[in-house]
Structure formats: structure tokens, C-alpha cells
């Protein structure tokens, strides 16, 4: 069981709750969602409480995160996009901290479950669609009609644009999910090699240095991926929000 790379993704019920035949149990996944949210919220709340004119170190961490997301959103969606700043910031921080929490041994990785990333991606998708139609009316459909395309090609291009638009939530959710899943499985598999090799005697112990080095390298890579995937998710969200605000402008 210890070497099973899938084991880390098991959902275990901490507090069973069932309503109307559906299982709403408070699971380890829910527990780590709460931990992510509470830790992040508490950190941001506490570090921003001093409101120092000259920021302390921790204060500047939350301010850097704020500026990072704000400039990302402003650069891709303009100042009109700033109304979605709390959403994008919450999304970025939630995914980033959930990914980083997953790097602790024996911790559950919330974002390694497809349903979670799908829910987040659908939230982005629905916000873009609803806000796009609410703000632009049917002008939002200009998104699917790039300017300067010959009339003959238009049906084909529109079909491609519509399909690529509908594929966005899938690619957005699967990218994050698959990255986290594959990274954690790879890490577990290589770490498992160390244990199995070590049990083979002296040669095995010497040989297990290779998977150990690999595990160390992969751990560093996974920290990078944890940040990068949160960044990519937030960045694409910003670009999709830009489509909702300026449907004709790409």
C-alpha cells in the first residue's frame, strides 16, 4: 500500500454527511480546501493588518501577490477588467496554495481532482459568457467572427472559433488536473523505487541513489509546476475575461 502511487488521491471521509441520497461528507479533500482557504486568508489578513507605509517582509509578500495579479489582469483586460480582480486573485491564491499544500508529504492535493478543476474552470467560463452577453448583448458573438476573413471562409472560421471557445473550460481544467496528477504520481513512483531498490541489499542501496536524485530534482520541478499552473490558470482567466469585455478586439 505504501508504494501505491494512486493512494495519495484517495478520498477518505472524515465526517460522513448524506443529504437526499447524495454524499456531502466532509472528506480529506474538503479538509484541505478549508486548510488552504484558512491559511491563505489568515496570512493575507494578518500581514495586511499593519498597513505599514514601509512594508514589513510578510506584508510585502501579500502586496507583491496583489500587484502581481493586478498587473496581470490590467495588462490583458484593461482597467475595465479590474472589476473581476477579487475573483482572479482568489482563484490564483486558491490554486497556488492548494498546489503548494500538495507538496507536503501525506497532504492531499485538492487540485489533483478533476471535479475541482472543472468546477473552477466552469466558474471562469460562466462568468465570461454571462458577463459577455450582459455587457455586449449579441455583440458578444463578434468574438466568433474575426475581422478581415474572406466571406467564403467565414463559416469554417466561425465553427473553429466556436469549438475552440467551448474547449476552453476543458483545456483549462484538464491542464491543471493532469499536471498535478502526473507530477505527484511520478514523484511517488520514483520515491517508491528508492524503497524497493534498498531492499535488494548493498547493490540496491547504491543503485537507489539514482531515483533519489531524480526525486529531489522532481520535487524542485513540482514546486515550479505548482506556481506555474496557478499562474497559467489565472493568466488564461484574464485573457478570457478580456474577450468578455472586448469581444471584437482580437
Amino acid at each position: 500500500m505504501a508504494n501505491d502511487p494512486i493512494h495519495q488521491f484517495q478520498i477518505s471521509k472524515w465526517i460522513p454527511i448524506e443529504v437526499g441520497g447524495l454524499d456531502f461528507s466532509f472528506t480529506n479533500s474538503a479538509g484541505f480546501m478549508v486548510a488552504t482557504v484558512v491559511a491563505t486568508g489568515a496570512f493575507l489578513f494578518v500581514t495586511s493588518s499593519s498597513r505599514g507605509l514601509v512594508p514589513s517582509r510578510l506584508q510585502s509578500i501579500s502586496e507583491i501577490a496583489y500587484e502581481f495579479v493586478a498587473s496581470m489582469l490590467r495588462d490583458s483586460a484593461g482597467s475595465q477588467g479590474m472589476r473581476f480582480f477579487p475573483f482572479v486573485f482568489a482563484l490564483f491564491m486558491f490554486i497556488l496554495i492548494a498546489n503548494l499544500f500538495g507538496m507536503f508529504p501525506y497532504f492531499f492535493t485538492v487540485t489533483s481532482h478533476l471535479i475541482v478543476t472543472v468546477a473552477l474552470a466552469m466558474a471562469v467560463f460562466l462568468i465570461v459568457v454571462i458577463y459577455g452577453f450582459w455587457k455586449n448583448g449579441f455583440g458578444f458573438l463578434k468574438l466568433f467572427v474575426p475581422s478581415g476573413v474572406p466571406v467564403v471562409l467565414l463559416p469554417l472560421v466561425v465553427a473553429i472559433e466556436v469549438i475552440s471557445f467551448l474547449a476552453r473550460p476543458i483545456s483549462l481544467s484538464v491542464r491543471l488536473f493532469a499536471n498535478m496528477l502526473a507530477g505527484h504520481i511520478t514523484l511517488k513512483v520514483f520515491a517508491g523505487f528508492i524503497v524497493s531498490l534498498s531492499s535488494l541489499g548493498f547493490v540496491g542501496v547504491v543503485g537507489s541513489v539514482l531515483p533519489l536524485a531524480m526525486t529531489v530534482g522532481l520535487t524542485a520541478l513540482e514546486f515550479l509546476v505548482a506556481f506555474l499552473q496557478a499562474y497559467v490558470f489565472a493568466m488564461l482567466t484574464c485573457m478570457y475575461i478580456n474577450d468578455a469585455i472586448h469581444p471584437g478586439g482580437h
Binding site: 500500500m1 501505491d4 494512486i6 493512494h7 488521491f9 484517495q10 478520498i11 454527511i17 447524495l22 454524499d23 456531502f24 461528507s25 466532509f26 472528506t27 479533500s29 474538503a30 480546501m33 478549508v34 488552504t36 482557504v37 491563505t40 486568508g41 493575507l44 489578513f45 495586511s48 493588518s49 498597513r51 505599514g52 507605509l53 512594508p55 506584508q59 501579500s62 502586496e63 496583489y66 500587484e67 480582480f85 477579487p86 475573483f87 486573485f89 482568489a90 491564491m93 486558491f94 485538492v110 489533483s112 481532482h113 478533476l114 471535479i115 475541482v116 472543472v118 468546477a119 473552477l120 474552470a121 466552469m122 467551448l166 473550460p169 476543458i170 481544467s173 488536473f177 496528477l181
Partner: protein, 193 residues
């Protein structure tokens, strides 16, 4: 939600494979499905994600972000204000330097003027004094010359009588006779001529 049904469908088809792959290791866990594709835990995850992320969003939007944004804005304003003040002070300093330099230039010009005036005055005074002294000296010189001329004239007048007396005495001594005074006077006059 158009993705979920699609995944539900794909999950049905992959059910068998995942089960056989992970079935051995999954003993003792409720279902033998690959956990991320096990739809039995979807409702729970969706509910708790909605609760936690929703509260997180509201907390950030209401409490944290206005605070950080306010701090950043306050700092930006403060920096802009300080820069303004610094620019203002620099302007004042520049103005003060300009005024000082102007005053300095004025003072220098005034000093030159005063010095020039003093020099001119001293020069004219010296000139006046010298010309007066010269005039006085000229006068003295002229006086002295006239006196010398008069003395010379007087002396020259007496030369004739002295010569007559001397000639009379000499003749008396040499010749021992008497010579008429008028003869001697005529001889002296002829010699002087």
C-alpha cells in the same frame, strides 16, 4: 455544465480499465475506481469547494483586498505627494540661488562703480594738486628769474663805474699821472662795446 456529462460518459467507458489497473492496490477502499474519476465523491467535493472558495472569495473581496489596495494607494499617494513637495522645495531652492546670484552680481557692479568713482576722484584731486603745485613753482621760477634779471641789470650797470675806478687806479699806479675821468669813461665804454 456541459463538461461534466461528457466526463461522466468517458468515465463509464474507462471504468473497466482503471479498475483492473488499480484494483489490486485499491483493496479496502470503497470503490475500486481511479479516485479523480469516481463520481460518487463529486457532490461532496463540489459542495465543499463552493463553500470554501465562496467564503474565501467574499473574505478577500470584503476584508483583505480593500485593505491591501488601500495601503498601496496610500503609499502611492504619499510618494507622489513627497515627490511634489521635493520638486516644490527644489524650485524654491533654485529661486533662492538665482536671487542670491543676482544680488551678488548687483553688489559686484555697485562695488565696481564705487571703486571707479573713488579712483576718478582721487585722480582728479591729484591732478588738481599737481597743477597747483606746478603753477606755484612756475610763479616762483618766474619771480626768481625776474629778480636775477634785475640783479644782473643792476650789476651790469655798476660794471662801468667799477671798471672806471679800477682803470683810474691802475693808470695811476702804472703811469703815476692823472687822467681825466671822462677819458677813462670813454675808454671803458669802448672796451665794453
Amino acid at each position: 455544465m456541459f463538461v461534466t456529462p461528457a466526463f461522466a460518459a468517458s468515465e463509464q467507458t474507462t471504468h473497466g480499465e482503471t479498475h483492473t489497473e488499480t484494483g489490486v492496490a485499491d483493496d479496502g477502499h470503497g470503490s475500486g475506481l481511479f479516485p479523480p474519476f469516481d463520481s460518487s465523491n463529486y457532490p461532496s467535493q463540489l459542495l465543499w469547494l463552493a463553500i470554501t472558495f465562496g467564503l474565501f472569495y467574499l473574505f478577500l473581496k470584503r476584508m483583505v483586498l480593500p485593505r491591501i489596495g488601500g495601503t498601496l494607494e496610500f503609499r502611492r499617494d504619499r510618494i507622489a505627494q513627497d515627490l511634489d513637495q521635493a520638486a516644490h522645495m527644489k524650485e524654491e531652492a533654485d529661486a533662492a540661488v538665482a536671487a542670491y546670484e543676482q544680488e551678488l552680481a548687483e553688489a559686484r557692479a555697485k562695488a565696481n562703480e564705487i571703486a571707479q568713482a573713488a579712483r576718478d576722484e582721487a585722480k582728479s584731486q591729484a591732478d588738481a594738486e599737481r597743477s597747483e603745485v606746478e603753477r606755484e613753482l612756475d610763479k616762483k621760477l618766474a619771480d626768481a628769474e625776474t629778480r636775477i634779471a634785475s640783479i644782473k641789470e643792476k650789476a651790469m650797470k655798476q660794471v662801468g663805474s667799477i671798471a672806471e675806478d679800477t682803470a683810474e687806479t691802475i693808470v695811476k699806479k702804472l703811469v703815476g699821472g692823472r687822467i681825466a675821468k671822462s677819458e677813462i669813461a670813454a675808454a671803458v665804454k669802448a672796451a665794453a662795446a
